[in-house]
């Protein structure tokens, strides 16, 4: 089960990276681009911390400490740049 999670997580990470790059090179409105790529980096961060770093089985406080980083930092960066 754990190994399946690792394979699945790697596929999600690769796909989101490819989609983000395509979106950045497309002509979609800047607000939509900002929203989609910010969400994409949050999901990628969640996959790395939960699956690769194995924090989904770690004490809850540690897990949320790292998850708050991967959610808040992209959110703060997007807010500074776009709003």
């Amino acid at each position: 089960m754990k190994m399946i999670n690792i394979h699945f997580s790697a596929v999600i990470l690769v796909l989101l990276t490819l989609i983000s790059t395509m979106l950045a090179q497309s002509t979609i409105p800047i607000g939509v681009l900002a929203l989609l790529v910010t969400l994409s980096v949050m999901v990628k961060g969640q996959q790395i911390t939960d699956i690769f770093m194995e924090l989904n089985t770690a004490p809850t406080k540690w897990r949320w400490l790292l998850l708050s980083y991967v959610i808040l930092v992209p959110l703060i960066l997007a807010t500074i740049i776009y709003i």
């Binding site: 690792i6 690769v14 790529v37 980096v41 961060g45 790395i48 690769f52 770093m53 703060i76």
Partner: protein
Amino acid sequence: MPSLVVSNLAVSDVIEQSLHEQKLPGDLAMWFFILMELTVFAIFFIGFAITQRLQPEMFIDGRATLSADVGLFCTLALIISSYFVARSVEAVKRGNNLVAKRQLVFALLTASIYIVLKITEYSALVEHGFDISTNTFYTLYFFITGFHFMHVLLGMIILAFMAKRAKQNAYQPNDCSGYEAGATYWHMVDLVWVIVFFLIYIIH
């Protein structure tokens, strides 16, 4: 008879507790080090974003000299490398040091792609007359990516050391916290790059 029942309950409690035990992988010291590193990078990222907000034209011109493809392939290289490292941790936990070593060799090979791409990108920028003193964009670009590059090099040294120890069959399924700590450091390097890619190559 009652004492036997109490004893059986105690044993089942211990088994139940161990099944649901929430364990932090690796060493606690490594996690504090990772939190410190992530904080330093967050400060750099926020500095980059604020400067972009203040000087948007400079950042648009600067980004135009970077290749999104280089950023993309660097990201893919580090993600795939992290994938092999995660697999190697699973192999060690199953007591298979040789498989773990092989996965680490694959991780090092894919990480080498990142190294080659970054050196190529730095060389191309310098050839075109852009260096750390050109303007604020390049100062921040070279500083953030260069700082991350040094972390990748350190991570590769750690992975190579882990591979050498795995070859010597030094890790056991119930005694691999050092191995987990090294792997966690490598995932931190990957995590930071995901945000670097978003901030420098994707956002515009």
